[in-house]
């Protein structure tokens, strides 16, 4: 069952205009991995997108469709914590915003440690944080999640 949520769509900036976002919204307004569901609407605003809610057992999927062609899916547990995020679109979205500072830093550190001149999907897997990204310009897809924060009975494959 998917229903359209009440329209709270602001049109501040697109997700991909981070500089603008920084000046328009306080840091705490970012939705981020490990953050709370309250910030999903802020992401929708940054994306100029509409949110669709898809309740599932033990979590709620918030799907944001942006006019830019990006689709972001944020997975919030019943306690409100965002434990997973998935994205697809013509370009790489603002990952600093989607992952939050903590996991964006982990992503960047893992990239720096990769054996050089590897080209192909990025797969980062630690006990705390999993990140995957594939594709090329016109068609990027990725997901990130916190394995320890997955609600009981929810498999990581649900995040896609």
């Amino acid at each position: 069952m998917v229903k359209r949520s009440p329209s709270k769509v602001a049109t501040i900036c697109s997700l991909v205009v981070a500089a603008c976002v920084v000046s328009a919204a306080p840091e705490s307004a970012y939705a981020e991995l490990g953050g709370t569901v309250a910030s999903v609407e802020n992401d929708a605003a940054h994306l100029k997108g509409a949110v669709r809610l898809a309740p599932a057992r033990a979590y709620t999927l918030h799907e944001i469709e942006a006019a830019t062609g990006h689709v972001v899916r944020e997975y919030a547990a019943d306690d409100g914590q965002v434990f997973g995020v998935a994205w697809e679109g013509p370009t790489v979205p603002d990952l600093r915003q989607l992952l939050g500072e903590r996991y964006f830093a982990q992503f960047q550190q893992a990239i720096a440690k990769r054996k050089t001149h590897r080209r192909g999907p990025v797969v980062i897997e630690t006990s705390e944080f999993v990140f995957e990204q594939t594709g090329r310009l016109r068609d990027f897809r990725g997901r990130a999640y916190l394995p320890r924060a997955l609600p009981s009975g929810v498999a990581s494959g649900a995040i896609r």
């Binding site: 370009t91 990239i111 990769r114």
Partner: protein
């Protein structure tokens, strides 16, 4: 014991170049038998009177002989497989055959295309090797490279030939690392502008990094083929504006040095006419920026002014191309040479032959099906080092650890058969092997047909897919004897 068996299998497949006889030292008492002979000749296309080096891979069981005798339908060939083309006045296919000396019923053949001297050439050499010499210990693995000649538009003297440019069927457009950043490009190329007249600068995104630099115009020669006044990206020139945060926040590394990029440039010649397409024409995205006084803002760019696929701008042979790479040993090779052949069905040397056409969707994807599960967003990409697919739970292959993580590290080489289906409904099975990536990489070889890695949800057929195949890339909207692009054929 299984590990031992794996190495025996490898040792039994021996290159036949200049082989004086003898066989593998298998300690088993299996009767000696030759089962197959495969032949590859590189380059696969030569000019009249030119030479091509042919090798035979003999497979068999027991203490079999790997010796072959060489014959050719025209021209001549030495006992060690060096073929000399006949003098021809029109494009002529020549068959080179290797026959097992132990079993005269076992032979293999390859076709060498001989072009007349002075004819218009649509063939350009490619190589898989370590990459630019400056990389040292960080050399490239499964990197497909070529040389590109670029000139200031309209000039035939203010030109540079730049070697070790990565051939990437997954990203459209030519990007060259500036000499200021450790690359080779030192020409002063005219700037391409945004619609507001400011400098047009790009954040080109890859999976783990981006290239930042202005768009400029250049004449591009690939062999004898010319694409005139083409928008290209100059990576990290000295006067590039600072990278905007919306580009930085894509999260990867800024590939602004030779050691980071790993190549002197990237030649993107995929399915599409330009790099970003309608998305960047209709929306200001974090790809193209209008920059003035070091301040950059995202801007829309009409498709015709975006970075272009040079093949589509050739005056002839511009509907697509073929990537030709020979079969290689499963133990890996130090280098492999092959050809780009421009055009599909436009010359005697670029017909589709028996290749099957797999059309793609608007994003360049087709469907791969493994064990009854379909992955509808699968693609082919010469710029990916390996074949990336599924995960350890689905494949049964253990993942590598440490710096090798992301690849598979099985104890024995394992074969996979996958069915690819185009959006046109055409289906065909492909088989590939996955060996232990740590063993392969530690061997210090450069080219592998069995390097595989993890990828959930789709198949990414990287460079291993290209070995032993002619892979046809048909450009969107262009007519070919196999229909209108975009499609892959092989």
């Amino acid at each position: 014991m299984r590990l031992f068996g794996f190495f025996v299998l490898i040792s039994a497949v021996v290159l036949g170049v200049g082989c004086g006889g003898g066989g593998s030292s298998d300690s088993n008492t299996t009767p000696a038998a030759v089962t197959s002979v495969r032949v590859t000749c590189t380059p696969a296309t030569v000019r009249s009177g030119g030479t091509s080096t042919c090798s035979a891979t003999v497979a068999g069981s027991g203490n079999y002989s790997t010796t072959v005798t060489w014959t050719t339908s025209a021209g001549s060939i030495t006992a060690s497989g060096v073929f000399t083309a006949p003098l021809v006045s029109s494009i002529t296919p020549v068959t080179v055959t290797a026959t097992s000396t132990q079993d005269g019923k076992r032979s293999g053949a390859a076709t060498v295309t001989v072009n007349p001297a002075g004819s218009a050439q649509n063939v350009h050499p490619i190589v898989v090797d370590s990459g630019p010499p400056g990389l040292g210990a960080d050399y490239y693995i499964n990197g497909l490279f070529t040389s590109v000649r670029v000139c200031e538009p309209g000039s035939t003297s203010r030109c540079q030939t730049i070697d070790h440019v990565l051939v990437d069927t997954g990203a459209v457009g030519l990007r060259l690392l500036s000499s200021a950043a450790g690359g080779q490009l030192g020409l002063s190329l005219p700037a391409h502008t945004a619609s507001d007249g400011n400098a047009l600068v790009q954040c080109m995104q890859f999976l783990d990094g981006f290239t930042w630099g202005p768009i400029a115009l250049a004449d591009i020669y690939l062999g004898d083929q010319l694409a005139s006044s083409v928008p290209i990206q100059v990576i990290a020139p000295a006067d590039a504006p600072a990278v905007p945060s919306s580009c930085q926040n894509t999260g990867g590394s800024n590939e602004n040095t030779l050691s980071r990029l790993g190549t002197n440039g990237i030649l993107g010649i995929g399915l599409f006419l330009e790099d970003c397409g309608d998305s960047c024409a209709q929306q200001a995205l974090n790809v193209y920026y209008s920059c003035s006084n070091a301040r950059c803002v995202e801007t829309t760019v009409p498709t015709a002014r975006q970075v272009q696929n040079p093949v589509a701008l050739f005056s002839n042979d511009n509907n697509g191309f073929i990537v030709q790479l020979p079969s290689i040993s499963s133990a890996g090779q130090d280098s492999v040479t092959g050809s780009l052949v421009f055009g599909i069905g436009t010359q005697p040397n670029n017909g589709l032959g028996n290749a099957a056409v797999y059309t793609t969707d608007a994003r360049g994807n087709f469907t791969a099906t493994y064990n009854s599960t379909s992955y509808s967003s699968s693609f082919i990409d010469s710029g990916s080092n390996g074949i990336f697919f599924l995960n350890p739970a689905t494949t049964g292959l253990p993942a590598c650890q440490g710096v090798y993580s992301g690849f598979y590290c099985p104890t024995t080489e394992t074969a996979f058969t996958v069915t690819n289906t185009g959006r046109n409904g055409v289906s065909g099975a492909v088989t590939f092997n996955v060996a232990n990536a740590q063993t392969l990489i530690d061997s210090k070889k450069r080219a592998f047909n069995n390097l595989g890695g993890v990828l959930s949800g789709r198949f990414d057929y990287g460079l291993p897919f290209f070995f032993g195949r002619n892979v046809y890339v048909a450009i969107e909207g262009r007519n070919t004897p196999g229909g209108v692009g975009p499609y892959w054929a092989y």
